[in-house]
């Protein structure tokens, strides 16, 4: 792999807090190695800003290995930047070339208010999980783990849905700010497993109700969420969510 260095122009969204109005600021960074991660490039910029006596750019990040779901930058008009199935922290600078201008914004959605600069508040996702994204089993209640065999395909599909990292890229990238992929993934995971059976109907109804309450938009099947999802969560999960919702709605009306 050939390595190289580059100079870049960055246009970054700056916003002091939730109350203030934000704006783009332009920065130059020099001698960036193609081996750096995108966030390491931001580290360089922030160190530069601190030395210059300016305030560094606030951004969320933690594990830097693509699994915690904390990093959340909208880079050149794409959630998590140009690479497919990738988080911001795993994007590396070899995706760019010398002289490039890179525009960086926070997630933008009514349900994700900006906290500062590129940091947003995603607690709405936690509240959706609180509404039903669990199986009600107190510690100590479980039967032997092998007591209930599960079809490997169902287990694999449940795992694929459960791989969601809750980053919110699906919402940020959706023109309607819809959280259907996030909700669909959790509903699917638990609907595919026998353990999720008893609460199947109340779960989907409550989670969707909370999703609406939080101000997320509706799904109009553009599939941008799937295209930008760093974990490749399939829109088939949205279809399953719709079908689960419909079934639950019907049976709850009967009752």
């Amino acid at each position: 792999m050939e390595h190289y260095h580059m100079n870049l122009t960055l246009k970054v969204w700056r916003q002091k807090n939730n109350q203030s109005k934000g704006n783009f600021e332009t920065y130059q960074v020099k001698n960036i190695s193609s081996e750096m991660s995108f966030l390491e490039m931001f580290d360089v910029l922030n160190e530069q800003l601190i030395v210059e006596g300016k305030e560094p750019i606030a951004f969320d990040h933690d594990c830097r290995e693509g699994i915690c779901g904390m990093c959340s930058m909208y880079i050149n008009g794409q959630a998590h930047g140009p690479w497919q199935q990738n988080t911001t922290c795993q994007l590396h600078m070899r995706a760019f070339k010398d002289g490039d201008t890179i525009v960086v914004e926070p997630w933008r959605s009514t349900a994700f208010p900006v906290v500062k600069d590129l940091v947003v508040n995603r607690s709405s996702f936690d509240r959706i999980i609180q509404a039903g994204g669990y199986i009600s089993v107190n510690t100590g209640n479980a039967v032997d783990a092998n007591a209930i065999p599960i079809d490997k395909k169902d287990a694999d599909d449940a795992f694929m849905a459960a791989a969601c990292i809750g980053c919110g890229a699906c919402v940020a990238t959706c023109k309607n700010g819809s959280a259907m992929l996030f909700v669909g993934a959790k509903v699917s995971q638990l609907a595919l497993l026998p353990q999720g059976g008893p609460e199947r109907e109340s779960r989907v109804l409550n989670m969707v109700a909370q999703m609406d309450k939080e101000g997320f938009g509706n799904c109009t099947n553009t599939y941008a969420c799937e295209a930008e999802c760093p974990k490749g969560i399939s829109v088939a999960n949205i279809a399953r969510l719709n079908s689960e919702y419909l079934k639950a709605g019907l049976s709850s009306e009967e009752a």
Partner: protein
């Protein structure tokens, strides 16, 4: 103060059941009046907060991330051990116990480890019931794989994302308790002090990281589930935010720190690429199930790996340790990689790497698949493609991660790997009940020192975090709180809260007022360099003494020249980081003092002065068969207390994996 580990009397395999049978209980009406603070929401914290909420206690949980689901347990890849013996390959509670004590190089407390092995099976049951999608076989039953330091298959997994799935299980249980009102969650909050009243932990001072305001929170007990301190080395596989601050504040308030120098350097990580590096990424130990580790037999061989013929490759783990081969424990594998690189056999541009090669495994799996499909003498390419699919299913996300970071395709060319700091076996000293030396203050998961001795076996961290949170603390905490049912909530205008908050705000002001020239990051990097060079994979008296004086100088420089932009009462990541680095500097000094004191090699702690003729770690049971528990008695001053380790069952011997 004499250390009392409060190990129950009786036979090893009866201790825990006897303890549970006689432990004091708190009735449901009283539980509702008792408040518990849980700091950290990883596997230990989330499982503890959820389980205690289910029992009816009033719980407050804190995490510094934006959601409890982000805790770094989420990044654990390979798996979780449990003595289920589903594979019928001779596993048992005793074997898991034995392997863990031996793997820890006889520096763990037997009674704790036995309990861990006992509750391991219930963890798997609980997780499956929560909907954790573990890997399964075609018959619908759970799949297992092997990990280092064992000869059975007892590791349960969910591709290379086991930690994520287990944490999301615990997180969902926690969110359920939040929705029921049993747990109150404080995200983007950092604990900055423990409040003690009449010698007992009675609450914490926390800082809201969004507004910068400090807050007082009362609790009848405080549980620290705040993880490990690997980031003292700057570069580690820990998340950027992982820190020692909660544990360190507790230490300064009287909790002893156990075996601080016991650090796990994980053998298979992606090597450092340059000075810009902010963290290191692990390639799961599970890869050593199928991958083979090698370097060229000739020094400075610069050929591409595919051009180096089989006969000219040195599979040094298989050569040195035929019984365990590539699956020797982590400390052994790391030292062996360092030895080859130090001798000049390393590969890649920096020469500080070895190969982890999947070619043989891909072809082996390919042949099995071809035969399953009834193919007669398929060509190599077909076999390779079939095998690649199998490897992809087992380790796909890890291979992808490697490619994203390095730009190289690990299916085609072997991965380059090198050891990196991964886990800390040391932590707050706790007794059998997980209580620190401060009454009412507990430490769970990686934050305590108890179960892994001087070296943790792979897939055992997840097991311990969940054991502590789901199955240990709900019993042991009740034993303490049963005597506390008459204590009503203490108002937070109590002088002790006032004094603790003042201490916290004074320190924040002091940090902000330094207004120096150097960034927090630059100090952290320098600390990391000192720690890695002198308190890393090899340690010596001379190096450690030098490191201690360098760290003391660094501390002075930090407190006179650090530059923190912004204000206290706002979102200020640099201020958050400055407080953590200041604590890491103090911890670094203690780690070196501990490493200097322990003039023996054991597990991950390798003193150059104490090795066998063939370069293996040489323990000194006569002089160091103890847990070093350090009491802070002043600025840069510590007193050593020893907890003698008595081995009733597993008799210490020179560990051999040959």
């Amino acid at each position: 103060m004499a250390l009392d580990a409060k190990i129950p009397q009786g036979e090893m395999d009866k201790k825990w059941s006897d303890y549970k049978g006689h432990v004091k209980l708190v009735n449901p009406a009283n539980k509702r009046k008792l408040e518990i603070i849980v700091v950290g929401t990883g596997l230990a914290g989330a499982s503890a907060a959820a389980s205690l909420g289910e029992l009816g206690y009033k719980v407050k949980a804190f995490c510094f991330q934006d959601s409890p689901r982000r805790a770094h347990s989420i990044a654990a890849q390979g798996g979780i051990n449990a003595a289920k013996n589903y594979q019928n390959d001779g596993d048992s509670v005793f074997r898991l116990f034995y392997d863990t004590v031996k793997g820890g190089d006889y520096r763990a407390r037997e009674a704790n480890v036995h309990r861990l092995a006992e509750v391991s099976t219930a963890i798997i049951d609980q997780c499956v019931a929560q909907g954790v999608p573990f890997a399964r076989e075609y018959g619908g039953l759970l799949s297992n794989r092997s990990f280092g330091g064992t000869q059975v298959q007892r590791t349960f997994y969910a591709a290379g994302q086991t930690g994520q799935q287990l944490l999301l299980g615990a997180y969902s249980a926690l969110e359920r308790q939040i929705s029921l009102g049993n747990v109150e969650m404080f995200s983007r909050h950092e604990m900055l002090d423990v409040v003690t009243i009449d010698g007992k932990a009675r609450g914490i001072i926390a800082r809201d990281l969004t507004t910068g305001k400090t807050e007082r929170h009362f609790g009848h007990a405080v549980l620290l589930c705040s993880g490990g301190y690997g980031n003292v080395f700057y570069l580690s596989t820990n998340a950027m935010g992982s820190n020692v601050t909660a544990a360190w504040k507790a230490h300064k308030k009287g909790a002893y720190f156990g075996n601080p120098c016991f650090t796990q350097i994980h053998p298979t990580c992606i090597p450092v690429s340059g000075d810009h590096q902010s963290k290191l990424t692990l390639m799961s130990e599970s890869l050593r199930n199928d991958g083979r580790i090698w370097v060229p037999k000739a020094k400075g061989d610069n050929r591409a790996p595919k051009d180096i013929p089989e006969i000219e490759r040195d599979y040094y783990l298989e050569r040195r340790y035929p019984a365990f081969g590539n699956l020797v424990p982590r400390d052994v594998a790391s030292r062996a990689a360092k030895e080859r690189c130090d001798e000049g056999y390393g590969v890649g541009t920096t020469k500080m790497a070895v190969y982890l090669d999947y070619k043989d495994a891909i072809m082996r799996y390919g042949k099995i698949e071809a035969s399953k499909h009834g193919m007669v003498s398929p060509d190599d390419k077909t076999v390779f493609n079939l095998g690649k699919q199998v490897v992809e299913e087992k380790y796909g996300n890890l291979f992808e991660m490697y490619e994203k970071i390095t730009g190289e395709n690990p299916y085609e060319t072997p991965m380059r790997i090198y050891p990196a700091v991964h886990y800390t076996m040391g932590g707050l000293w706790v007794d059998y009940e997980l209580q620190t030396t401060v009454p009412g203050l507990y430490a769970l998961g990686e934050a305590n020192f108890s179960d892994h001795g001087a070296n943790r076996l792979g897939a055992s961290a997840l097991m311990q975090g969940l054991a502590d949170g789901y199955f240990v603390i709900p019993y042991t905490l009740g034993n303490y709180l049963a005597d506390d049912i008459r204590t009503s909530s203490i108002p937070t205008d109590h002088p002790a809260f006032e004094a603790a908050e003042k201490e916290v705000t004074d320190r924040l002001n002091r940090l902000m007022n330094i207004k120096g020239k150097q960034t927090v990051e630059s100090f952290h990097k320098r600390l990391g360099r000192i720690m890695w060079d002198e308190c890393g994979m090899a340690r010596s008296e001379k190096g450690l003494k030098q490191a201690i004086s360098q760290i003391q100088d660094l501390k002075k420089e930090f407190w006179s020249d650090v530059r923190i932009p912004g204000d206290i009462n706002e979102f200020n990541s640099e201020l958050d980081k400055a407080g953590r680095v200041a604590d890491f500097i103090e911890l670094g000094e203690l780690m070196c003092i501990d490493a200097l004191n322990r003039n023996e090699s054991c597990g991950g702690h390798f003193r150059e002065e104490s090795q066998t003729e063939d370069g293996e770690a040489k323990r000194d049971d006569e002089n160091y068969r103890y847990v070093a528990a350090w009491e802070n008695i002043g600025d840069s001053e510590w007193q050593l207390h020893k907890e003698e380790l008595n081995f009733e069952i597993v008799k210490p011997s020179q560990r051999s994996y040959k």
